[in-house]
Symmetry: none
Subunit: 224 residues, 2 copies
Amino acid sequence: MNNVLVVDDDPHIVRALAITLKGHGYSVATAMDGESALHAAAQRPVSVVILDLGLPDIDGTTVITRLREWSTVPILVLSARHGSNDKVEALDAGADDYITKPFGLDELLARLRAILRRTEPDPGTTVIETGSFTVDLAKKQITKAGQDVRMTPTEWSILEIMVRNPEKLITQQQLLTEVWGPAYAKEANYLRVYMAQLRRKLEAEPGTPRHFITEPGMGYRFLP
Amino acid sequence: MNNVLVVDDDPHIVRALAITLKGHGYSVATAMDGESALHAAAQRPVSVVILDLGLPDIDGTTVITRLREWSTVPILVLSARHGSNDKVEALDAGADDYITKPFGLDELLARLRAILRRTEPDPGTTVIETGSFTVDLAKKQITKAGQDVRMTPTEWSILEIMVRNPEKLITQQQLLTEVWGPAYAKEANYLRVYMAQLRRKLEAEPGTPRHFITEPGMGYRFLP
DNA sequence: CAGGAGCGTTAAGAACCCATCAAGATTGGC
DNA sequence: GCCAATCTTGATGGGTTCTTAACGCTCCTG
């Protein structure tokens, strides 16, 4: 889950933001001044920092600078100051975005999504492990018993669809349409050929598959 | 150099932006409507797009969506609309930042720097070593057996992409799109010519490569 | 119990992809 | 404007992958 660190000296804002963010599936940590913000960011991994510039102890730009000394975590700045100089300073110190108060929560959330989209292309779901083999979706690499397994393009696209939907039944139509295109939706034979190929390459006993299960009349199911 | 694509239907703004950006060391391409913007972005690699939402032909959000179908280039949106909905829509469509007109040029430039900072290389991981050669990404320098190896610009951009993604399979589309631009996504021949060149210069036995591996039908993989 | 439908397996030719070479076209520096 | 370096383009032969069809098997159904 994405962990957001909210830094603001106004308890109302902190509380309101925390509630909203939690409501949208983020986990939230908070800090009321610069020092504790820096400390909190060092304590545990943070996906993004929402930082008010008007802190009681340290100047906001300084917080950014000191954070940037060791961290590349995205920083979204909140500020009551509309001045162009403040924005430029904060952004050049290392902030990623800058919103002036008062701001719409919708906008804040949208900017948060935009920032997180850049830093986390595929959170966690890039490596799928099973009892007998491992699929790395980002590297497009399959490992079985320490050995790399080569896949042809068609094999890979089928495998990718399967492992992205574990436990789920994939109909033949779905596979055929996504891999070969809608015109091939009836060519169930292709599937048999390639499913056999996948099993031969990945299953311990291709004859009695444990990961690529046939659901007769329906389609196939991948079990990790 | 960073190449900026400026998209706006107001010639004055385009001209002003172009002059300012060039003055700050950017190279600038321009487009006056959505179609030519998409076309221009496909012609050659673009580092960042500055996009006005109020275009005469296509809705701005649509431009973002269509650009995102094949490109991850950062998009900075300009808009006269202050409404929260417009911002959320544009950001969720794939924009990276959103400024409302009128805006300060200082702020625009600062936000541009902030966006480009994200796409820039990580300092520290700039030297990659393999069994037979060394690549210094910062110095753009390659060493093999104590000797410097010269690279042409095209060779270097391919090598850079490969080396920045070790172990990872890079599809031909990815390489062609990033090096030559999306319009060349089908010219797989170029890749073969240049991959052969890279192997001749860097591999111990160009005939049986150990670092630049071909995955037939899929793409290429770099192994350190 | 026979027939049919769906599935797994196999194999061969067609289609496509890759490495390599070399010759024209283009570009950039002087 | 010229020269050298670089990039584009086309052709060739060798390899890989895809498509297609045939056959045997099991399970369900009439």
